[in-house]
Symmetry: C2
Subunit: 324 residues, 2 copies
């Protein structure tokens, strides 16, 4: 590739891109980046003014790639996502324009699975709640801390047995949990019980863990009916997307004691979290950071570079998203 | 057994015994209990006055069974512990008097292992810290949350590969961690690397998990030298006993940034926790509740009853502690 910075291939970066310092240097030796972050003008104006020849875009989960945005980028041929989910992209428009898309593939799967287990243990075993108990000084005056609930042996239903869900299942088997799942189709090579819908899954489990993608079929897949079926002691862990859950109904269920507890890394209206959840002892809330480790970001950065290099060499992207 | 309550075998109960309501009823149909809890007189006076004929004692972890206490119970033949550790008992005196001891055996092993994994994920992946970040409102004003560290693939050293340690190892294998251990002796049937001392273990690992018992050999087994060897990114999880760690040195290491983080369910001077730890983001503190689930207490209660029945029927205790 060219070594004169002006001759390097141009890459537009739309926020948020989690640069780690060692990567920044490596990236800038291979590509000339055009940053659409911290703009002083509206993003559409910037795109129309500065990005008419831009062929490649690197973009994170929190930026909506609408038709309107795509209209501002007439030369765009390749989008490299730093996330797995495609819920913020107008896929039909991209397909129409022949844009190839690469996503984060399985780079985050282990981290998200680890995090889901962490949230689950935290909710069941009251770890964050115990930490607050100690911090507040209540323990040192011998106040009683409530009994928790055991993880080992629990029946766990996984919603979406893809890359993340499979990693979650593998871990929970080692905790002697009984695993079942729902997904679009029964997976022939999997040893766990399959339920064709989430209400059936809820009726056979103590816990639901949400690891599926958000799309029109899975929007509010966890509704009032599912939560009532799961019942008063039921636990929900969400490491997928906020809108998999009808959040208003979930808040109601928790307020009325109709759900045992929740561990949420994602919310319908991030970064805003329903006020009612903040003080609840049976609720653990994290700032959508299930993917955020130095290790997975390092792997992601390698993948981003490889995808861009593949595009500029007319090769298939390494983590090419297939249009349906 | 007799049905007249006055004819039931007498059992002395010294705090803290974690009664769950369903058990209380079952217990009172089989035994007449004499409670040494919430006393208005000094415990020694109560024992001398009321317990001279008492043959059996049920007792928890937090009551020290010293020679002085044993002197007040001349008829004592059996102690049933609701804990696993023997660190609060004068074993030599018990042996001399021919007292048989039953402990909680492996009743808590799964729960403590689950909890250790929960603490580890919490520290590495900043779950409690993330929860505080959300609760404080910092997320909603778009403050940056720091990158965490991945669990999968980490090198984990287990100090004491007994019942709890083995359960911890089994779980961490499913997280693709690399396990090694130290214990009194190398275990021939175990597939993990063995180190004969804890400094060597620390030098080969990212994390140490303490699951061994507290005795004269393991007191302050985690000293300054071990912590320095583990290093600035090293994590320590303690679900054993507080005094396994030189707590003052640990606080110093954390204050000076010479240790990456800790997850502690136990402390040297419970329920008092070093003030310096309270506000640290890389520290998770819980109120010695790793064993406290409804499920393990139910199992414990069954074991306590079975042990007492065995003693009164002149049979061996189910979870008999062997004197060395």
């Amino acid at each position: 590739m060219a070594t004169n910075p002006e001759e390097l291939p141009l890459v537009l970066i739309l926020k948020p891109f989690p640069f780690i310092p060692s990567f920044q240097e490596k990236f800038s030796k291979k590509f000339k980046s055009l940053k659409g972050t911290d703009l002083s003008i509206p993003v559409n104006d910037f795109l129309k003014k500065e990005c008419q020849s831009v062929k490649t875009l690197v973009c994170g989960a929190k930026f909506a790639l609408t038709k309107d945005i795509l209209d501002c980028l007439p030369s765009l041929g390749c989008i490299v996502l730093t996330c797995v989910g495609l819920d913020n992209i107008d896929l039909d428009e991209c397909k129409k324009r022949g844009i190839v898309i690469g996503n984060a593939d399985t780079v985050y799967s282990e981290d998200v699975a680890d995090f889901a287990i962490g949230l689950l243990i935290d909710v069941l075993r009251r770890i964050s709640s115990g930490h607050r108990f100690v911090r507040s000084g209540l323990w040192s005056i011998n106040t009683e801390f409530p009994l928790a609930s055991k993880l080992s042996g629990k029946r766990i239903g996984i919603v979406g047995l893809g890359s993340i869900g499979s990693e979650v299942a593998k871990r929970l088997v080692a905790f002697n949990c009984i695993i079942s799942y729902t997904s679009r189709n029964k997976k022939p090579s999997v040893p766990f019980s399959y339920y064709s819908n989430v209400v059936d899954l809820a009726s056979h489990n103590d816990v639901l863990i949400l690891t599926c993608e958000l799309n029109t079929q899975t929007f509010h897949i966890i509704d009032k009916d599912v939560m009532s079926t799961l019942g008063k002691k039921g636990i929900i862990i969400n490491v997928g997307r906020g809108a998999l859950v009808d959040e208003k109904e979930m808040v109601q269920c928790l307020v009325q004691g109709e759900l045992g507890g929740v561990g949420l890394d994602v919310f319908e209206n991030e970064p805003h979290v329903p006020e009612e959840l903040i003080e609840m002892g049976n609720v653990v809330l994290t700032p959508h950071n299930a993917v955020e480790t130095l290790e997975s970001y390092t792997d992601l950065h390698e993948l981003v570079i490889s995808n861009l290099e593949a595009f500029f060499s007319n090769k298939p992207l390494l983590s090419l998203v297939k249009y349906e």
